[in-house]
Amino acid sequence: METTPQILEVKEVTMRFGGIVALDGLNLSLRAGELRCILGPNGCGKTTLFNVLTGALRPTSGTVSFQGAMISGKSPAAIARLGISRKFQVPGIYPELSVIENIALPLAAANRHPGVWSLLRQRPDRARIAELMGFAGLSQKGHVTAAELSHGEKQKLEVMMLLATDADLLLLDEPTAGMSKGETSAIAALIRKLTSELGKTVLVIEHDMNFVRELDCPVTVMARGTVIADGSYDEVRHDPRVIECYLGRAA
């Protein structure tokens, strides 16, 4: 039987901040085209994990490899150019720029071997921008400044900016933070489309259990900087270690 190749492998990663151990020998692997959710209580190390994966933090020990190449210690820009893109908890869009300019930025940065002339011109790939805006349902908002978008539209725009980098692995940190129920369902549908239609690998950090159920994907639960459970939404929901981690042990 043919198996999907592994795209990300995190091996025994530890991240210490003085006496605080944010990640404690964490292991995690993702297959290409997989959608996975990471759950865990506040302070369990989810965002630290994203910081390590994107090069914002250099792990104290352990290794991270992406598409077979070691990426631990590389700069965030170098890792982004290798194909890992990250969405921050607070939308990382540029409010003063239009929707088109926001998407044009990663397209410009993705130009690996720019000549002087291409750096001095501003000729965004209009077809690609239109395609991305259409994918997110923002076709009518191209010339609107990002500040004028609704919260849900801002989140969608940021996901489109990640897609414009041509990244293979998208890391989404709480993509539904501050959203209404309707907006949350729309984002869930968009994220499912990222894997089903575009073949992207997506790792999502999330707190909203209803959203996790809507995503209908494998779930990894973290606590105290390490993985304590893996499985479907229903499996982890009934796992005693997960229940203990969220609700505590009976006295």
């Binding site: 893109s85 540029y94 990663p106």
Partner: protein, 284 residues
């Protein structure tokens, strides 16, 4: 009427040159949060590069271009050897660039001596402007400064690299995660900021006394212009250079130099008191 026009043109000439120095400060601060105390010495380095080029027999305009290149490269070196090691530490940055300014000034004294040097005006004639004879070289300074300021604006707002530079200024973390090479942008921006100061120093050299203190004469008004116009804003640089440069030239024509400078400081203090974030950011 002739006097008013002459003062107006003198003010415009000073404002445009001051704008080049201010733009360098603003884009470096915007990009890296670095308050570059050595910016005046980069202006100085530009003037002395022109002195060296002229001594070596190079034509004037070749010397000006050389000054831009040499000071741009010096900026690249300073960013690589000093600035990048103190990123995110504002006090250390101020101390490091202050130390650097002293080192550059002393190096110039060792090489060229402490005495003032005069350069020959490359365009000694005058041109009739609206009925008055005005020095041709001052008009050239205005044209060069306006051209460079417009080029900086066009590069930042109408090109692909400008979009990337603005993205780093607005949100460094996000820009990095979108694949923008923030390190390259830092280096490039610092070098361009330095080159602007260098070319300003070179074009001003023939009408100023070139001496090791000349950088301070531009650094202080440039800092005042940044504070009055607003940090992190190109429009602010234009407004600030306009107010400080305009007031300085106009007042100097009607009163003693020292009194004029006191008045300029008073204007700056009043503006900063009423608009703490600078005129481009609005009333707070």
């Amino acid at each position: 009427m002739e006097l008013v026009l002459t003062i107006g043109l003198d003010a415009l000439s000073f404002v445009l040159t001051l704008l080049l120095v201010t733009l360098g400060l603003v884009i470096v601060y915007g990009m890296m949060n670095v308050i570059n105390m050595a910016h005046g010495e980069l202006f100085l380095l530009g003037a002395y590069t022109l002195v060296a080029a002229q001594s070596a027999g190079l034509p004037f305009w070749a010397g000006v271009l050389l000054a831009m290149l040499v000071v741009g490269l010096a900026g690249l070196l300073i960013e690589e050897l000093v600035i990048r090691h103190v990123y995110g530490r504002p006090i250390d940055t101020i101390l490091a660039t202050w130390g650097l300014s002293i080192a550059i000034k002393q190096l110039i004294i060792i090489v060229f001596g402490p005495a003032a040097i005069s350069l020959t005006n490359p365009l000694p004639g005058s041109v009739s402007v609206l009925g008055i004879d005005y020095p041709a070289y001052r008009l050239v300074i205005m044209a060069v400064s306006a051209f460079l300021a417009a080029t900086v604006y066009l590069v930042l707002f109408r090109t692909s690299i400008g979009l990337q530079i603005r993205s780093v200024i607005a949100n460094r973390g996000m820009a990095g995660s979108l694949g923008v090479n923030t390190r390259l942008m830092d280096r490039g921006t610092f070098a361009v900021g330095a080159a602007l100061a260098g070319i300003a120093g070179a074009v001003m050299a023939p009408i100023m006394s070139v001496d090791p203190q000349m950088g301070v004469g531009f650094l202080i008004p440039a800092f005042l212009a940044v504070l009055v116009g607003g940090l992190n804003s190109l429009l602010g640089a234009v407004i600030g250079a306009g107010i400080i440069g305009g007031a300085s030239t106009t007042l100097s024509s009607g009163m003693a130099q020292a009194t004029a400078q006191i008045c300029v400081f008073v204007i700056a203090i009043v503006v900063i008191r009423l608009f703490p974030n600078g005129l481009s950011k609005g009333f707070r």
